[in-house]
């Protein structure tokens, strides 16, 4: 079979599925529409995984596959490049969109346009993970962004609409700078594909090269905005906490990390961009720490989770930046990149799990205040839940994010911090781990039994608890457990894909070493201690002050400008 034609299936199958869903929406009766949506998900989300996995041997043997769309000359046509990174991204997206979609069936948004939009999103992510052309990247980023804005505001609640509006203005105005950057690069090099630009940059004079670097910077900062690195992350809290639960899981799980791995390609354009990676690693660790501190101060359950997304993305950025700093062709760099990818994968699973279970709990309790909700289990059993699946799934997610074995979070965090060990980043990330434990102890209190409610309701209600919620939660919890247990195998699989046989490290990573177990114990103890401090009088005063910090629309642009200044300082000086 010709691999080139397989390469485009993850783009065109979801699009075809989306168009089938839409056509059936305007032609068929309601029941048939439902059927067509299941069919669309089957061929749009699951079939591409199979086709992409068929490409696995080619990736192992050849490294990467190139395709010029329409077989034109690569100087003018759009070049697509499929490598192991694209493979991982596509499988990750399609696999993890599924539970969120299942969850949305009963809780909403359940209209057929929602199905069509997430199918288009999957196609866009496939395109974005393969494209090697800056303008195509621009278009794909805009499609991804617009889908995110529409999904966030899909329930038309005013705070969700406001969050979506804020995100939209911020992100689409930064994309204008991306366009300006691509203008500068086209004018200097006469080409839009990464390969041609890299070649052309070698022949520029130093003054022209400086302009080209500014252009690249103006392209990198908008992508970093989508990743929500710390000074640029104001939009995330509103957008991810106000969106419908299924959408929050999608956004936090997948959408904020895809641009980061796209940046791996952008950074390969010029070797000088390597200057940026070291400061970015520090910014990443700072993001992890500050995100956790803010998370600890929140009282809104979903806002707390949104701050945790920022914090976890900080972990990933640190590993990613150090990988680029060492060079992804070398063995330590590749292992760091694998660690970042593995943590992305496990974060997508457990954050999806947390958002969905907390969403179920807060919906049932009709409040989002961590201090007020108590006894979620009895409330849920009133709604017809016989067995506390929601609580168990929440605990799986919480233990996973706290990095406690045998769940996947432990393995990915251990792997990630293991290779950072001598640097100061390791210390900062360990402190952030302590904060994570503390804030999740705070969040878990909503499941504590409440005596008042328990006495009121002895009689079981006849209501049936929606099956799709349980199904999606169980899928994610099983994934969290299985990827934890088989982490060694997954790690080896990724090693096969990213490191050539000759360079593979001989000694294997040991997860259950004495030091790791002791570190986990210390982290948990520290977390409990921190929680006690945070609930004391002084602690709660400080946290209350932190919660009071507000940023408005204009401040975001100030942060944008500061980031540009900071990064250009590190780039040129």
């Amino acid at each position: 079979m010709n691999p080139d034609s397989l390469l485009l299936t993850p783009i065109f199958l979801p699009l075809l599925a989306a168009s089938i869903v839409l056509t059936s929406k305007s032609f068929l009766p309601v029941k048939a529409r439902r059927f067509s949506e299941y069919f669309g998900i089957l061929i749009g989300l699951l079939m591409p995984i199979i086709f992409v996995l068929l490409l696995y041997p080619y990736v192992i043997n050849q490294g990467s596959l190139f395709l010029v769309i329409g077989s034109y000359t690569p100087k003018i046509g759009i070049v697509y490049k499929f490598d192991s990174l694209s493979l991982v991204m596509i499988v990750l997206t399609n696999l993890l969109t599924l539970p969120a979609w299942i969850y949305s069936r009963t809780v909403g948004p359940s209209q057929s346009y929602f199905t069509a939009l997430i199918l288009i999103q999957s196609a866009t992510i496939a395109a974005i993970s393969m494209t090697n052309d800056i303008f195509n990247l621009f278009v794909c980023l805009e499609v991804m962004g617009l889908i995110a804005y529409v999904l966030i505001s899909s329930k038309q609640e005013k705070n969700a609409v406001f969050a979506a509006f804020n995100y939209m203005m911020y992100s689409s105005s930064s994309m204008v700078f991306f366009l300006l950057g691509s203008f500068g690069l086209y004018r200097l090099t006469g080409s839009l594909s990464y390969q041609e630009i890299t070649n052309a940059l070698l022949n520029l004079s130093s003054k022209e090269l400086n302009i080209a670097l500014i252009c690249l910077l103006l392209m990198i900062v908008p992508i970093l905005l989508r990743v929500a690195i710390m000074p640029l992350s104001n939009w995330l809290v509103g957008a991810h906490s106000k969106a419908p639960h299924a959408v929050s899981a999608l956004l936090s799980g997948i959408l904020i990390k895809i641009p980061l791995f796209v940046l791996v390609r952008v950074f390969s354009i010029s070797p000088i961009l390597k200057n940026l990676t070291f400061p970015l690693a520090y910014i990443g660790s700072a993001t992890a720490l500050i995100g956790v501190i803010f998370a600890l101060s929140q009282s809104d359950a979903k806002k707390l989770l949104a701050y945790h997304s920022i914090s976890q993305i900080g972990y990933i950025i640190t590993a990613w930046a150090m990988a680029l700093n060492v060079g992804i062709d070398t063995t330590p760099g590749a292992i760091l990149l694998i660690a970042a990818l593995f943590h992305t994968f496990s974060h997508a699973i457990f954050k999806g799990l947390l958002f969905l279970s907390i969403g179920t709990a807060t919906d049932a309790a009709e409040s989002r205040d961590v201090y007020k909700i108590r006894g979620v289990n009895s409330i849920l059993s009133q709604k017809g839940e016989r067995f506390p699946i929601t609580m168990i799934c929440f605990l799986v997610g919480a233990l996973s994010i706290m990095a406690i074995p045998p769940f996947n979070g432990f393995f990915s965090k251990t792997l990630l911090t293991y290779y950072l060990k001598p640097s100061i980043n390791y210390t900062i990330l360990s402190i952030a781990g302590v904060g994570t434990v503390a804030s999740f102890i705070k969040l878990s209190r909503i499941f504590l039994p409440n005596k008042q409610i328990k006495e009121q309701t002895k009689e079981f209600s006849k209501e049936k608890f929606p099956f799709s919620i349980h199904l999606s939660l169980i899928i994610l919890a099983l994934l969290a457990l299985l990827t934890g247990i088989f982490s060694q195998n997954i790690f080896e699989l990724l090693e096969n894909m990213f490191i050539s046989t000759s360079k593979r490290p001989i000694n294997k990573t040991i997860f259950f070493s004495q030091a790791n177990i002791i570190k986990t114990l210390y982290t948990v103890l520290g977390g409990v201690l921190l929680f006690v401090i945070a609930t004391s009088k002084v602690g709660s005063k400080v946290l209350h002050k932190l919660k009071g910090i507000k940023t408005d629309f204009t401040d975001q642009y100030f942060h944008f400008a500061i980031t540009i200044t900071l990064l250009s300082y590190f780039l040129f000086v």
Binding site: I76, A164, M169, S173
Partner: protein
Amino acid sequence: MIIERVLIFLIFITGFIGLIGVKNIIKKIIGLSLLNSSIVLLFILEASRIGDHAPILVGQEKNIVDPVPQALMLTAIVIGVCVTSLSLAMAVRLYKTTGSLDITIIKERIENES
């Protein structure tokens, strides 16, 4: 040549000031449109410097202008309009539920209720 670039730069900055300095959300959207159209103007203006003829191959005039930026800008214009329409719909929705177009007042009213 320099004057044209300065003028486009001034349009760009005007749009940016409109985006961050004005409180009315519809004016913010107007600022975003201005930003977008300044980039479109810049692209087309610079690309037209290398030729005297439109990029339609009817005669044998060799010095046509560069067609690639024009094709790119078609896409950029359409994306700009899509963003405008969606954000205007959101602005109307915000006005209907909060009764104001001022971004700080909207934020206050939303935060007070929740």
